[in-house]
């Protein structure tokens, strides 16, 4: 019965909305530039390396692009992991440490304890989820500072990693797992399929579920979210469990790609992941953490570093670029937010 009344109401309302639009309008060009600035920059950088004589030989080849995409698949999943709690304004700086812990767990299960491959994969993901649960209980239930708790957890996990590996590199991973990390389906590396599926699922959870909406509302105004009856603590807890599980998945993928696990292998992912989500928050929907923005963020840095490396840049370029991206992205996000709130009056 509601289907009969809805179109009428929609029409009337749209007319109202259209009239308001005419009156208020907006600085369209500037807004578009703000929204798609990073995307345009990404395209320009890609075009530059395609035609620049120092890189045009290798950069635009499908082998190079496939390689970049496959290499970044781990970072994409880690960044999406860190993004989920970030939507509710909770940091998860333990993502990198969880990657290492899960990779070590799976490696240990498959090599030392002779579990079947599937059990090893599930085990790695589960370990990540459990660590996320511990983070979540402390942060959500006791309202502890997420930054400090996850940083502490990160350090703790590094120690646990050393203990589990005895400071050795674990080798001898079954071929079937290595195949997943290094072969292609339909000409596209399997890890790329995996990150695309993960991205679609995360996007659906954020945009197409009640949980996603609660996460968004908590990030927008936590007190208001509580006062409309949303289970804010539970929402934050689940977000951190999801973050842990995705980091665990990234750890398994790391093992599949490299065939080895050692203490500390994942710690390098935390900062680039944070850089990517903050870069991403300046684009498409400025001020909001989105899946598509995060993908743009990851590949903006990856393409730039890849091009520079091909042109013969030194090792120090990548960390400088990553660190610079965090600082620039967070500053840009702050400036844009100030401008938006200023012009809304």
């Amino acid at each position: 019965m509601s289907t009969q009344t809805e179109p009428v109401a929609r029409e009337a309302g749209d007319q109202v909305a259209a009239r308001r639009n005419e009156r208020i309008g907006g600085p369209r060009m500037l807004e578009l530039l703000e929204r798609y600035g990073l995307v345009i920059l990404l395209i320009l950088v890609a075009l530059f390396f395609t035609f620049w004589s120092h890189t045009s030989g290798v950069f635009p080849t499908s082998a190079n692009l496939r390689n970049v995409a496959a290499n970044e698949s781990i970072l994409v999943i880690v960044a999406l992991a860190a993004m989920v709690p970030m939507v509710a304004e909770r940091f998860d700086l333990s993502v990198g440490a969880i990657v290492a812990t899960s990779a070590i767990t799976t490696a240990k299960m498959l090599t030392a304890w002779n579990f079947p491959v599937v059990a090893g994969i599930v085990g790695g993901i589960l370990v990540g989820a459990v660590i996320g649960l511990v983070n979540g209980v402390i942060i959500a239930h006791y309202n502890a500072n997420s930054l400090v708790i996850t940083l502490g957890m990160s350090t703790l996990l590094a120690g646990v990693g050393s203990y589990l590996t005895g400071n050795n590199t674990l080798l001898g991973v079954p071929q079937s797992l290595l195949n997943f990390g290094n072969l292609s389906w339909l000409g596209i590396p399997r890890p790329v399929w995996l990150f695309v599926i993960v991205a679609l699922i995360v996007a659906f959870v954020l945009g197409g579920t009640v949980f996603g909406r609660r996460l968004l509302a908590t990030g927008s105004n936590e007190s208001a979210a509580r006062l409309v009856g949303m289970p804010v603590s539970r929402t934050i807890l689940i977000a951190l469990v999801i973050s842990g599980a995705l980091s665990g998945l990234a750890g398994v993928l790391l093992l599949a790609r490299t065939g080895s696990a050692a203490a500390g292998v994942g710690s390098g992912y935390t900062l680039p992941a944070v850089a990517a989500i903050f870069l991403g928050s300046t684009t498409i929907r400025p001020g909001r953490f989105t899946v598509i923005g995060t993908l743009v963020g990851v590949f903006f840095v990856a393409i730039s570093v890849n091009g520079l490396t091909l042109a013969g840049a030194q090792d120090w370029v990548e960390p400088v670029f990553n660190g610079g991206a965090v600082v620039v992205a967070v500053a840009a996000a702050a400036i844009l937010a100030k401008k938006r709130l200023g012009s809304a009056r």
């Binding site: 009344t5 809805e6 109401a9 929609r10 009337a12 309302g13 749209d14 109202v16 909305a17 308001r20 639009n21 009156r23 208020i24 309008g25 907006g26 600085p27 659906f204 945009g207 197409g208 579920t209 009640v210 996603g212 909406r213 609660r214 968004l216 509302a217 927008s220 105004n221 007190s223 208001a224 979210a225 509580r226 006062l227 409309v228 009856g229 949303m230 289970p231 001020g287 909001r288 938006r340 709130l341 012009s343 809304a344 009056r345």
Partner: protein, 515 residues
């Protein structure tokens, strides 16, 4: 529309000439001209979005006007596009904003000297005796009867406002203050202190001070202002003396059409069905409060600031866990301290501070409207289309002015944001609607619409518990009024027994008796 600006400088403190302000896609001020006479209590009126705030920000130099206009203050003239905060300060225009900008944990004297050099001893340390002497002199000059050594946070709201004003005027003799601009100075004062503040302002005006007074409270303006300027949709509607103006005429000038909002509610029969019973509730400042709420009834809670009204409503809604007592809704006891339980039992709550407790400013209007009822859209996955359609229907039903159904809430005016918050709860058809200052800072037009929605909710069977500091609002909406003082219910009245005098005297007397 432009008025000639030929008044002799001696008669005119500040003149606004042909000032316009265009924001991208919107003209906030359109060729506004008027003069503020020396020694005049000049009221500035207008609904939200009328351009009132924009004009004040231009006077303060926060915004620059479009080219072509100018501002004159005393002997200083400046083009509207070149105005800066330092010009406004040099030209003697002083501001007391709604947020007074005081430092609670510091003394009155330290607050008075904020932004000024502290008196120093020869050794270079602060000369406290000299500072307090000087502060005493300034306070005396403005008739502020508080000790310079008291902590700001210990003062009553009216006293705090007076100290903020004294800080602006400081030393009338040595600094020439052409115009004192007061933005909603009474919005957070209890009724008794409103008069205290306004009487002080009258004294300053009598002594020759010019005041530009911005307020939504028409009674204050009718009783105290000499001249009123009305803005509507960025245009100057009128600047005229107060002679012959009454409430209805002012309202017409502000909203552009006659709307009857000040009439007191007629006594009417109340459905005897009890929807909610509060039994001997104690929590924080609230002491043993008990009352019934009937179907469709609007019960107002009157009380001074600090009487525990907000805490009472929050406790009923489950924000605080009561120390003692309980709340029963439709014969079922509410789980203490559970907001989710309260909502499930049919309660709804519109809090006082919208920005802090109810608005999702960066989320779309549609998302704000559905925030209290998300599960309605969960059928397998989240039905975004149905959510947007409901948003569109509510925009029409509640006459919400918005750039679009998905526009971030921050793009709406305060009154329209508040309509959205109310609409959010009315969607659930609540059995009990708890409202805390539902029209604070909302313009007259939106206020009338909010009143209509509250009355409509009552007709549909919701019981309404209304906390408000606005006596007109209380009288206009309430079937019954409970008076609260120092955490207790001290009196109640229904129908014709509710009068302005009764409310004001009971509220104040009860406060005295207890102390």
């Amino acid at each position: 529309m432009t008025q000639p600006l030929l008044g002799a400088p001696a008669r005119c403190a500040v003149a606004v000439e042909s000032v316009s302000k265009t924001f991208p896609g919107m003209r906030a001020l359109d060729d506004v001209s008027f003069e503020i006479g020396r020694g005049s209590f000049h009221a500035l009126l207008g609904g939200n979005g009328s351009g009132k705030s924009t004009l004040i920000k231009i006077l303060a130099g926060v915004y620059q006007g479009d080219a072509g206009g100018s501002i004159r203050s005393g002997k200083e003239v400046v083009a509207a596009e070149a105005i800066t905060p330092s010009w406004a300060s040099r030209a003697g225009i002083r501001f007391v904003h709604q947020d007074l900008g005081l430092f609670g944990p510091m003394t009155v004297a330290e607050n008075l000297f904020a932004g000024r050099p502290y008196p120093r001893t020869r050794a270079g340390s602060i000369d406290w005796p000299a500072m307090h002497r000087e502060a005493r002199r300034v306070l005396d000059a403005h008739g502020v009867e508080v000790s310079s050594r008291r902590l700001m946070s210990d003062l009553r709201p009216a006293e705090q406002t007076l100290v903020a004003i004294a800080r602006c005027l400081f030393d009338v003799g040595s600094e020439s203050v052409e115009l004192l601009v007061l933005d909603e100075p009474t919005s957070r004062l209890p009724p008794a202190e409103v008069d205290e503040l306004l009487e002080s302002l009258d004294r300053y005006v009598a002594a020759g001070q010019s005041i530009l007074y911005v307020s939504h409270r028409l009674n204050e303006i009718l009783e105290h202002a000499d001249v009123v300027t009305v803005l509507r949709d960025g245009k100057h509607i009128a600047t005229r003396g107060m002679q012959g103006l009454d409430r209805a005429a002012l309202t017409t000038m502000i909203v552009g059409a006659e709307r009857d909002i000040a009439r007191k509610r007629e006594p009417r029969p109340i459905d005897p069905t009890v929807v909610m019973t509060v039994e001997s509730l104690s929590s924080g400042p609230v002491r043993e409060v008990g009352f019934d709420l009937h179907r469709g009834e609007v019960v107002g809670i009157a009380g001074l600031v600090g009487s525990g009204r907000t805490h009472l409503v929050e406790t009923i809604f489950g924000v605080h866990r009561p120390v003692e007592g309980q709340v029963v809704v439709n014969d079922r006891r509410l789980r203490p301290g559970s907001i989710e339980g309260a909502i499930a039992a049919g309660l709804a709550y519109v809090p006082e501070d919208r920005a802090a407790h109810s608005a999702f400013r960066d989320l779309g209007l549609d998302m704000n409207l559905s925030a209290a009822d998300l599960k309605r859209y969960r059928r397998g996955w989240f039905r975004r289309g149905a959510e947007v359609a409901d948003g569109v229907a509510d925009i029409a039903r509640f006459a919400i002015r918005t750039p679009g159904v998905r526009a971030p809430l921050a793009q709406l005016s305060g009154g329209n944001q508040q309509k959205a918050v109310l609409a959010r709860w009315l969607r659930r058809r609540p059995d009990v609607l708890l409202l805390d200052e539902p029209t604070q800072g909302v313009d007259v037009g939106a206020r009338a619409e909010i009143y209509a929605q509250i009355e409509e909710a009552g007709r549909r069977g919701s019981a309404v518990l209304l906390v408000t500091s606005d006596l007109d609002e209380l009288l206009h909406l309430s079937d019954r009024v409970l008076v609260m003082a120092r955490g207790r219910l001290v009196d109640s009245a229904a129908g014709d027994a509710i009068t302005r005098d009764w409310v004001a005297t009971r509220m104040f007397a009860a406060n005295q008796e207890e102390s």
